[in-house]
Amino acid sequence: MFIKVLLLYLSVVGQIFSDENTLNQISTRLVKSLIVQGDFKQEKKLKMLNKPLISTGKFTYHQHKGAIWKTLTPVSTLVLMNESTLLTEQGEQAIPEAFANVFKAMLSGDFKNLESHFFVMATNHETSWQIELKPKDELLQRIISTLTLTGDTELRSLDIAEVGGNSTFISFDKTTHSSQLSLEQEGDFEPLQP
């Protein structure tokens, strides 16, 4: 019993000390490419609603250009994102650097800047991995309690838990890689060009 507890303790401590290391290990497991694309399903639970808001669609991430978030159901909309702005059909919004960072990190598999904005807890299992992020910024802390990323050789899900009880769960599926954008994707990125 004692040995078990000790081992557990050591593994926890070990984990805490080696988070950066673990992040690197996870990063190396992920397939890297210029462009990642796939399907997503987003489930938003708002505490005053008795059913979740479910949307599905396609995402594209380009290392240099940013991301396309194309919702197909229940309504079709297009959201574009780069390092500083979120562009919707209703106008432009600034997004916190921390958020932009997570989005970039999770889609590119490059985790090195995560720790400047979050307290990171990473665990690397044989078949899967999990990264838990808690915001360092006070303002963000008031809204977001935890961001959880899971995956294997690909990113599989993102869970956003809000302080107020709302949550958003996004799962990723049919992820593929390529080195060239389709014509449609090129067109979608157009409004983000300076």
Binding site: Q42, K44, L46, K47, M48, L49, N50, K51, P52, L53, S55, W69, T71, P74, V75, T77, V79, E83, S84, L86, T88, E89, Q90, E92, Q93, A94, I95, P96, E97, A98, F99, F103, N113, S116, H117, D137, E138, L139, I143, I144, I160, E162, G164, N166, T168, I170
Partner: protein
């Protein structure tokens, strides 16, 4: 009477008592804060309509105090920690009254809560439009919003704002979205991020020594941050002012040292005695001192530019000293009292004509010009009094019997050069006339005040970069909107803002801000409520939408009840205003008898003509300070030019009565040739010609008259007169002509004008005697 006038000891005593009295007053006034540096103080108050002046003042109050600091680093964490250190350093300097790094969130929260109670009365114009035409579409948009990734911020208050209409309205209250981290504004750039620090001076006008402290602080912290691999960008009006006054001061003092050394060598080698040097310095020094003290007694405060230009104009007094000193040349039994008797008329006429030209300045409504006129008139009179009252005693026993090197130059110039010119007067005159007429014909004034600004390129580049990163800095131009009551004002401003919206879409400007976009009139608030009632609450659309999204029935009922209860809520202007943030409050000018006024600020103007055209809207005035100031400058340039002509004619008339018309024309031809040549040279050499050159021309006029007079009254003492004139010309050239080497445009133009004018007066002056001899 004449005997009394030439009693050296008693006269010296009178001078001494006078200076002691001035000194006592000086002790009183100089211990107070007496120097003014702000630019606005120079401008006529009656020049602008009072409401425009008030609006300008309010607009500038804000802009003139603000200094913006951006600390850049690779990550926001680093930028923030550097910015915190910077804040401490700025605090230590005690230069600023207000330093903001963390932007207080409570204010925004309070503002949100307060406006939230009026949410059914407040609609942004776009949502209002959609509600009136196609309310279903609005609900559709909501579903888009709710499904967007990272929509957490927008849906925070979804429970109490199920239509998200208040979210929309509130987010438009702050049209520019800035990222906050740890309460600090973070601005992303290409390879780095910047943390924003805002500081405000306590007072719009910073004393000179504090301006230097500000520059030191900026330079020091910039170096420091560079050493720790980050970047500091700083901009703000105080910084421009500081740079301007620093470079002007540096140049004036370098030139000052250079010219002092030159003048000392010149006077020492000429007289081989230190007495003339000390006496000249004493004459000008006491003139300056008395001018400063007596002007302060009258005005309380004196502007730095008055000091610079006024001091220059007092330089004419050097003529009196040199004329007196050189009168002794070659006389065996020279006696200063006799000499004074001889030169007293020419000294006095010289003074009179110069005083006349300065007196003209005091009739202009330009406070700056009045100050200069008063200052230099006092200075000249006191310098003249020093020469007349004190010199006879202090020059007792003074002899000037050796032949100084400069004598050769004086003789060559007075006899050979002017003889040659006289012989060749036909073609020289012809060339001169072509030079003058050609120059004057193509002389184009440049009144744009931006040309006078000589900010270093780096400073302008930084300002430009900051403007790009932080598109909130307001431009100098703005609209003044008025209406006979609050409703009329609101309507006028809304019409203007709609037009500006269209111009913004066409990229004629990047942003604009007006109070009426944030607060609605009572009627509009009632109208908004009715629109909501018809389109959403009574039509059943709200109920359907809420139930479809998954709200339960009680939530729907409670929302409908809250709506019904809020029917008679009205957000009054004063309540809105009290909670609005400072930058919005600054836009409101208030209501007084029969008129309400506000300003609409503009950012990133690219097409000023299009904006100017909006003036035809009712109650709208476009205020362009740069253009207004330039216009004032142009008007005063013209007025002062006319004044110069009037003064010259007046002096001519006086001389005409005193010396006869032919002689008067002879004397006056010297200053007139000097003025014309100077103006023509400005145009041939492509120099800046503005109001400031006219100060120099006034000096040229005064000096030209002196030279003409001295030669006219020289009689058989032409050699000593030419010595005096050439010495005074050389000292004036050393003192002011050297300013032509300055890189500050105003100072340079000033020096250039004087240099050309003096040289022209010098070359032509000896012709005065010749003409009357040989004609």
């Amino acid at each position: 009477m004449i005997l009394n006038l030439y009693n050296p000891k008693r006269n010296a005593l009178i001078w001494l008592i006078g200076m002691i009295v001035v000194g006592i007053f000086g002790y009183q006034v100089l211990t107070k804060n007496w120097l003014e540096t702000g630019f606005m103080a120079l401008l006529p108050k009656s020049e602008q309509q009072p409401d425009i002046a008030k609006a300008i003042q309010k607009h500038n109050e804000h802009n003139n105090k603000k200094v913006i600091w951006l600390v850049g680093a690779a990550t926001s964490q680093e930028a923030i920690s550097h910015a915190r250190q910077l804040k401490q350093q700025i605090e230590k300097s005690q230069l600023f009254g207000k330093i903001t790094l963390e932007f207080p969130q409570q204010q925004a929260v309070k503002n949100y809560q307060q406006l939230f109670s009026y949410r059914y009365q407040l609609l942004d114009s776009k949502s209002k439009m959609i509600l009136m035409t196609n309310p279903e579409q609005l609900m559709f948009q909501n579903i888009e919003w709710l499904n967007a990734p990272f929509g957490q911020m927008q849906t925070l208050n979804f429970e109490h704002d199920p239509t998200l209409l208040f979210s929309r309205f509130f987010s438009l209250q702050n049209p520019i979205k800035l990222n906050l981290e740890q309460g600090i504004v973070i601005l992303p750039d290409r390879n780095q991020v910047f943390a924003l620090l805002l500081t405000e001076l306590e007072n719009e006008q910073l004393p000179l020594d504090k301006l230097e402290d500000l520059l030191d602080l900026v330079n020091h912290t910039t170096e420091q941050l560079k050493a720790s691999h980050s970047e500091l960008l700083v901009t703000g009006m105080p910084l421009f002012t500081a740079h301007g006054s620093q470079s002007a001061q540096q140049e004036i003092s370098t030139v000052g040292v250079g010219s002092s050394v030159g003048i000392m060598i010149l006077l020492l080698t000429t007289f081989r005695s230190i007495r003339p040097l000390l006496l000249s310095a004493l004459a000008i020094g006491s003139g300056l001192f008395a001018a400063l003290i007596i002007s302060l007694l009258f005005l309380g405060k004196i502007h730095i530019l008055t000091l610079v230009f006024g001091a220059s104009l007092i330089g004419v007094a050097d003529d009196y000293a040199q004329h007196f000193l050189c009168d002794s040349f070659g006389e065996k039994n020279w006696n200063p009292s006799d000499s004074l008797r001889f030169i007293f008329p020419s000294l006095s006429f010289g003074l009179l004509s110069t005083l006349l030209s300065y007196a003209g300045l005091s009739f202009s409504p330009f406070p700056g010009l009045q100050e200069v006129a008063l200052f230099s008139a006092i200075g000249l009179v006191v310098a003249w009094l020093t020469v007349v009252l004190l010199f006879p005693l202090l020059l007792t026993g003074f002899t000037f019997n050796h032949e100084p090197e400069i004598l050769k130059l004086a003789i060559f110039w007075e006899r050979d050069l002017s003889g040659w010119i006289f012989k060749n007067r036909l073609w020289i005159g012809f060339v001169l006339i072509i030079f003058i007429v050609g120059g004057l014909l193509k002389l184009t004034p440049k009144d744009d005040i931006r040309l006078l600004q000589s900010a270093p390129v780096e400073l302008l580049q930084v300002a430009e970069k900051i403007k790009k990163l932080l598109p909130v800095t307001r431009d100098n131009q703005f609209f003044l909107v008025s209406g006979k009551n609050q409703a009329a004002w609101h309507q006028n401003e809304q019409t203007l803002l709609n037009r500006l919206y269209a111009l913004k879409e066409q990229k004629m400007l990047t942003n604009y801000e007006g109070v009426s976009n944030y607060w609605m009139t009572e009627n509009q608030q009632r109208e908004n409520y009715q629109i909501l009632k018809q389109s959403l609450y009574d039509s059943g659309l709200l109920k359907r939408y809420m139930l479809e999204l998954g709200f339960n029935k009680t939530a729907v009922k409670s929302e409908q009840q809250k709506f019904a209860e809020a029917e008679n809520n009205i957000l009054s202007f004063s309540e809105w205003f009290a909670s609005a943030d400072e930058s919005k409050q600054q836009l409101w000018l208030g209501c007084d008898s029969g008129s309400c006024q506000s300003t609409v600020s503009l950012t990133g103007i690219t097409d000023i003509e299009k904006l100017k055209m909006l003036q035809k809207l009712s109650g709208v005035v476009f205020v362009d300070q740069v253009e207004q100031l330039s216009e004032i400058f142009a008007r005063y340039r013209i007025k002062t030019s006319a004044l110069l002509a009037v003064t010259a004619s007046l002096v001519l008339v006086i001389f005409g009565f005193r010396f006869g018309w032919r002689n008067a024309f002879g004397i006056m031809s010297i200053p007139i040739i000097a003025l014309a040549t100077s103006l023509a040279a400005l145009s041939w050499f492509n120099q800046l010609f503005s109001l400031f050159n006219l100060f120099a021309l006034l000096l040229v006029l005064g000096i030209g008259v002196d030279y003409g007079l001295y030669f006219f009254m020289a009689g058989n003492r032409r050699v000593s007169t030419s010595l005096g004139v050439i010495l005074s010309a050389l000292t004036t050239l050393l003192a002011f002509g050297l300013l032509a080497t300055s890189s500050t445009e105003i100072v340079h133009a000033f020096g250039f004008t004087i240099a050309v004018g003096i040289v022209a007066a010098l070359i032509s002056a000896p012709l005065v005697g010749r003409f009357s001899d040989e004609l």
